[in-house]
Symmetry: C2
Subunit: 324 residues, 2 copies
């Protein structure tokens, strides 16, 4: 179970490794939202998303004799790159298990970060069985994307930074809006805020139709999504909240917010125009909530986490052409 002590320890291990990403703002966005909007630009983190923090926390938190055998992860996206770069910089091997139909660019990027990519056939092969066999043969440690105490601790360092930066900006109280898939980033930030800035309260943000966390928080128990794909916010589509993350969110998060795909794309275009940052659809749902769901918000200031920027050129240009 992740504690504030684990988050503080992760911050110490991440010092000089993760970037302290800036808190951005624009008077144009403030006016649009009708309140002060601060954006934590975590898309500027190494590998283009917050996932590097969790990956580094997990790899650096292993005992040296365990770490040197290497790590393994299942991911075709941001988690893969975060774990791969963390392993590369620790000079230990990493294996990333990806579906063979993953975009070629993601496969190449992950290889370029030093990982061995193992492809499997989604239709015919069992991912977990492949991973378990490789991990067993080589003594690799599995780094899960969110239901992992060290990973949550790494993501929680976003919350510690955010609390410091909010204080520097003179913010007394605020809702902190966080894109939520499995809940690792949200749970980590919630724990960090509980300890270091209790006047900042966390709100999860998800795509419409994939708002399992919002519905689970409302129901007081885990509720699954009906579909497993179909949102442009692919990075944060998960079947249900995590086993470790959900109890943390139940205790600490406010009501969840769901935004439409078009609202996420519009937020991407506004982040381009007003903040000069590149945000991927799933990374833009919190900014979309800040700008387009004001009635669901209470505080005079909101802090939206822009959690990642790994978006394909065609998706980005389409967003600009429709909403730029």
């Amino acid at each position: 179970m992740t504690s504030i002590e684990m988050i503080v320890a992760a911050r110490a291990r991440l010092r000089g490794e993760a970037r302290r990403t800036p808190l951005l703002s624009s008077p144009f966005l403030d006016e649009m939202a009708g309140r002060r909007v601060l954006v934590k630009a975590e898309c500027l983190q190494h590998t283009g998303s917050f996932k590097f923090r969790g990956g580094w926390s997990a790899v650096s938190g292993l005992a040296p004799e365990v770490r040197k055998r290497g790590v393994i992860a299942f991911s075709s996206g941001n988690h893969a790159q975060g774990v791969a770069l963390a392993a590369l910089r620790h000079d230990v091997p990493s294996v990333i298990v990806m579906p063979s139909d993953a975009p070629r660019l993601k496969i190449e990027n992950t290889r370029a970060l030093g990982a061995e990519v193992v492809l499997y056939d989604r239709a015919k092969e069992d991912r977990d069985a492949i991973g378990a066999r490789i991990a067993g043969e080589r003594g690799l440690t599995l780094v899960k994307p969110f239901d992992d105490a060290l990973v949550i601790a790494g993501q929680g360092t976003v919350g510690l930074e955010l609390a410091e930066q909010a204080e520097e900006e003179g913010v007394q109280a605020a809702e902190v809006l966080v894109p939520c898939g499995g809940g690792g980033l949200s749970a980590g930030i919630a724990l960090a805020l509980e300890a270091s800035a209790p006047s900042l309260t966390l709100r999860t943000c998800e795509p419409e139709g994939f708002d399992d966390t919002a519905r689970s928080l409302a129901a007081g128990k885990v509720v699954r999504n009906a579909a497993l794909s179909g949102s442009i916010c692919d990075a944060i589509v998960t079947p249900e909240p995590g086993k470790i993350t959900f109890p943390i969110l139940t205790r600490l998060a406010g009501a969840g917010i769901a935004v439409s795909d078009d609202e996420a794309l519009r937020a991407m275009a506004l982040a381009f125009k007003r903040l000069k940052i590149v945000v991927e659809p799933g990374g833009a749902v919190a900014l979309a909530a800040a700008l387009f769901h004001g009635k669901a918000l209470e505080s005079d200031t909101v802090i939206a986490v822009a959690s990642g920027g790994n978006v394909d050129t065609d998706v980005f240009t389409a967003a600009l052409q429709r909403f730029g």
Copy 2:
């Protein structure tokens, strides 16, 4: 004449007002360049460019009784927005004189930042005469875009930050590549580095055909450009180096580098993909020099300033479609 003391004083006036923009990097860009490439993301500054620093420095450096009458600037671009926001935050009036055929969006943005926009007909009216009349009637102070000691001091704060950040990154020596129009940013950074990090040497970067500074440095005297328009890097096209800036660059800058429009657009696409920042063509010439003019460079590490991100949607999407 701008001195290091003036830059240090400008930094004190800018504290809590300008952002400390991050120094970004990507292993993919390092590999492409064949050396370490650090990018000072000044496109993330307020108003989307470094010009806010010079604007704030100039407005905050006026005597209060002079400042309260207001300021005036000639600009259709980044300088206009920098001066307008600086005046707005000082609660003093600003007048921005713009050609009537300036893009509507730039006019609207400048107005939204609280400025009074005065339009003139490029073909029939004399900009300087209009500005002098309004300034005289209202007692406004003219804030020049680069040949102004306080403006250069403000831009020089980029150099002080950069020197600190380079030290944090363990950089011993580096060439600092800076997009150069009239030379205010380059001159300010050069003075800051001379005093605070003499192992960092400045190199100016310009568009091909508009490399008046490079040719002037080579000739040892001011040389004009043959044309006054025709580069996509419009923000840094100027007829010749400034009267104050050129002697500073003559003393402190290495040989200038010129890049093609296509190289600038390619650098924009790579900044999108690898750094997750939005850079305008003129703001991308230093990164283009780092990536595509390696033979002109000597140091193992280069620091490229990405000076602005105010690019129209159609130019940006075209760059991504061609080079993304």
